[in-house]
């Protein structure tokens, strides 16, 4: 014990402190490494109006003229068919159209989209006050839930076209898909970016 004591008396606090700090740094290092590898380049998200709305909340939503793009069911006031609303793309595009530019986590590219704000869509659909979340279903039966709070926070777009105005093919995630402006909390997880929407159930 005596030599050890001597040792400690020489190096003492300094040795201990250095060791402690290094150990802490090492312990944290692993965690830090795993997190920093996920860091993503952030594009400057921007949104600009393309066209004004011709279909406003309170107005009846006409039944789809052609093939419907997606349907809405659940706690909504407006209906145009039994059990809910059916939207074809032209009807959807009567809402105010915005063009957004954002980082798409799946293709890992900055991409432009055109579409309507999800809030606007819900307003047109007359979502009831007691609704708490939206249940999205894709053509491949993939599902995503978003809370009403997330949606009211804004920045979630129902994209109907690419940035250049061309329609979205299915193999690009069309005909409609949900995109999030960068920095929107609910879009942080790429799994939330549901594409090829089939139905929206308001719950």
């Amino acid at each position: 014990m005596r030599p050890l004591v001597g040792l400690m008396s020489r190096l003492g606090l300094r040795c201990l402190t250095v060791t402690g700090v290094l150990a802490l740094a090492a312990a944290c290092g692993g965690q830090a490494a795993t997190q920093t590898t996920k860091a993503e380049p952030k594009a400057n998200a921007s949104a600009s109006a393309v066209s004004a709305a011709t279909l406003k909340p309170g107005q009846d939503v006409p039944p789809p003229a052609g093939k419907p793009a997606f349907t809405m069911t659940g706690k909504i006031a407006a209906t145009n068919q039994t059990g809910g609303l059916a939207f074809d793309l032209p009807t959807v595009e009567r809402l105010a159209i915005y063009e957004v530019r954002l980082y798409e986590p799946w293709t890992k590219q900055n991409t432009a989209f055109r579409g309507v704000w999800l809030q606007d869509l819900l307003a047109v659909a007359g979502v009831k006050a007691d609704a708490t979340k939206l249940h999205f279903v894709a053509l491949d039966d993939y599902t995503v839930d978003l809370t009403m709070a997330d949606i009211r926070a804004g920045g979630i777009l129902l994209a109907t076209r690419a940035g250049d105005g061309s329609a979205l093919p299915i193999d690009k995630g069309g005909p409609t898909r949900i995109v999030f402006l960068n920095g929107v909390k609910s879009g942080a997880n790429a799994d939330q970016w549901i594409w090829s929407l089939k139905a929206i159930d308001v719950q």
Binding site: P3, L4, L7, L11, G30, T37, G173
Partner: protein, 677 residues
Amino acid sequence: MRGRKAGQFPDLLATPARRWQRALQALLVIVMVSATAGVLAIVVQSSVLLGRMTTDVSVAQQRTTNLHNLQRETLRLLQQLTEFEQGGTVDAVAIRRGLVGRFLDVVQLLFPASSPQANELHKIHVALDSFDWAKLGEPATALSARTGAMTLVSRIEVRIKNLYDEQEKFFYAATLDSLAAKRKSQDAIAVLVSLAVVMAVCWLIVLRRRTRSRLARAYSALVTEVSERRTLQHQLTHQAFHDALTDLPNRALFMRRLQDSLAATDRATATAVLLIDLDGFKSVNDTLGHGAGDELLQRVAGRLRDCVRDDDTVARLGGDEFAVVMPAALPRDATAVSRRLIDALEAPFGVAGQEISVSASIGIAHLDDQSTAEELLSDADIAMYAAKKAGKARYAVFERELRDQALHRARLEQRLARAVELGEIEVFYQPIVDVGTDRILAMEALARWHHPDDGLISPAVFIPIAEETGLIGDIGRTVLRQACRTAQRWRTSVPGCEQLSVTVNVSARQLLADAFSQEVHDALRDSGLPPANLTLEITESMLLEDSGAVAAQLDRIKRIGVRLAMDDFGAGYSSVTSLLRLNVDLLKIDKTFLEVDGRSGGTLIRAITDLGHTLRMSVVAEGVETPEQLDHVRAAGCDAAQGFLLSAPMPEIVAHRYLQGARDASDRPPSLDPIGA
């Protein structure tokens, strides 16, 4: 003290053993540091590895999931193509195909560009797109197109499945690796934490030890200081209560012991105090020096200490005065100890290369009912004085009478001192008469104390006191000057007294004072008395004190021209040698011879007178009180006589008248010239 400190707190560099220990310490430091560094490296490495693996796993998971989705959509496409016959639509097939295409893109992006997997997926996508799906909508070609499509899709499905299997395997492997790395990392961290804990514990121990050793050092310093202070205090106390020379208790401690003893004594066994005074110590100091005196005192102290009982305390009160306090002492104990002390001092001391003998006079005082320590000590002092007076080397026990005497004496001393100041000491004169012619040869001047209340006090009482207190110097000088003046006046004013002499007694103390011969000279000069008309009377005992100094002094006096008389001859040693040596002019025979001669018929006086005459001295018989005695004296051939028969000592005025009357009685002038001179 210093030595003990060094023992308690050794210098680490002091010995080889310490050096060895230091080497071990250094080694341990190195081991400890390298162990820490090694573990730290492992931790960092595995943390990085873990991070990478975690990424790999998460990527693999993502790929697996999406490959799985791709496979699922491919199967659905296949299913759609199978169901095509039973009312499937081209649109439905297109949707499925689109979804497959979508996943192909997504999955391809999950692999690095131009990796085999990415290339494979790209090829699959190209193959899917290059099929002419439009044929499916045309009834003519629908059947063959469907068969072709199914073949294509099922091939695609197999290729996708292969990719999936491969990716799944990788995922599992990556997961396992990741878990292993995680465990390794955790183990390393655990080791590191353990090391840190061990170091922390060691450090705490070091801190504690350091604090403890600092405390121990402080404590030891404190103890040292306290003990030093205590030692110092002890020394100071010892010094305060002990005599520096002999290391015996001093007066303060003696008094304390005495008081303690008095406080503790039950009256049956009383306390005794012995006061010891060395006889003749002063002469040792004077002749051999203070160094020898001090050495003698130390040796005496040692012998005294050996003589007393264990409970007794020997103290040195100062100078050559020692004291013993004996608690619980019976009277015979005190005397026994005293005798022992006196005996112990009997053997000579070898001091400064000489054999020196001293004796002690001891005064013993016993506890009295009312005695205080101071009284007891003063009682012992009185007894010691008595012992000294009774002769030396003996003891005396205090008695109440001694104290009364002492008190009386003390009172007398005070009164005598005052008497000298007030001039109460008168000079009386007694004639010395020629027995042949009845002429007055000389007048002896005698000091008389005429006390206003007590009347005349005998010289036998006050002269010894005066000698002891030193007042004899003053008294002697007064008597000498007055006698000279008076004698000169008589010589000049009384007819027939032109040759009158005066005799004055001189004490040993006066004679030993250096200034005495000068005083004699001054007295003669001031009075005008011729030196030959002054006779100084000395006694034999004076010669014992310091014969050398006395002889020198007497020699000086003789040279002035003053004459000498040997007083009280026959009362002491009756040394003929000293008579010869001192060149005495007048021999005064002590009165005891007259008394003795009353029976022996004057033969002794005759013998002494013959001796005196032989030595060319005049002979005077003292104390002649009866006519028969005068006859004896005359018959013995004495030159002169003195005594009450002739005349008692008289005051000056009476003496004056006596002289005038005596002139008528004889026509011959008085003469004290030695026969034949």
